[in-house]
Symmetry: C2
Subunit: 157 residues, 2 copies
């Protein structure tokens, strides 16, 4: 489990670096698909990862809007700020947590139960999926995207 | 490990269904980013998953070109044809296979070693990443994409 989180953190860092060469206007530009913009997508990934990991610990979601963090520096700082909490939870993950139950409610008030293992994989897939969207927008900008390869990243020593 | 493969197979099936309402012209149209087209992406996912799983078993890659499978029916059939081989390998996966070594060569002949666990995660991330690209192209077509959610798919019973 940890390895795919490490992959996501590495890829996210690469995208932050990629953003340094892109104008603020392009980073904020409204685009087709997903969350609808490059920086907003990176904010969303950080928000969703942190909020689920908080939820698994019985702690509150992050609820602030993108508009309060609409610069590369602010999104990078937010990612850094949340990282230690997320990292330490993921590092302490054990297989016996897979089937633990998180009880949640839909916006309409209906109850729903998730397994912890389900949420962890949801968080992993969520980030990879959104990075795929960034890769299309990257080519639209005429820039090569960050590689999505898991191999050749030194993740297996 | 199995759960993320199951997720990918379910999402892929959903994308095949999604394709049924899209014209052949749109499925084959050249697009910006990734492999550059919807059906070609689905073919590529099937090819890459199968070829790596073959490699882990010391069996040959799939090497046929997209042009030989350029219809929805053919790509779906190819996916079905390869599925049993892939599924049975993934189902038989055990943690002690993680650090097994696959020796490969770069196109230039240089040797490279991969760990089996590294390849398995590469295959998982590869498909999710490309599905993210499909989701952007889907919105460009004015169609809602297949959901990328891992949760609420019945993957944890």
């Amino acid at each position: 489990m940890l390895k795919l989180f490490e992959y996501n953190w590495q890829v996210r860092k690469d995208w932050f670096e990629w953003c340094r060469d892109v104008s603020r206007e392009e980073l904020l530009k409204k685009r087709t698909g997903g969350i609808g913009g490059i920086l907003h997508t990176l904010f969303h990934i950080v928000d969703v990862e942190y909020s689920w990991i908080q939820g698994l610990q019985g702690k509150p979601d992050f609820t602030e809007p993108f508009e309060s963090y609409a610069s590369l520096e602010q999104v990078m700082e937010l990612s850094d700020r949340f990282h230690e909490e997320v990292r330490s939870f993921v590092a302490a993950w054990t297989d016996d947590m897979e089937m633990k139950v998180l009880s949640d409610v839909y916006p309409n008030g209906d109850p729903i139960n998730f397994k912890y293992g389900e949420i962890m994989r949801h968080v992993i897939a969520h980030e990879i999926h959104h990075m795929g969207q960034l890769s299309v927008w990257s080519r639209e900008l005429g820039k090569a995207p960050v590689t999505a390869n898991f191999i050749r990243r030194g993740l297996f020593g």
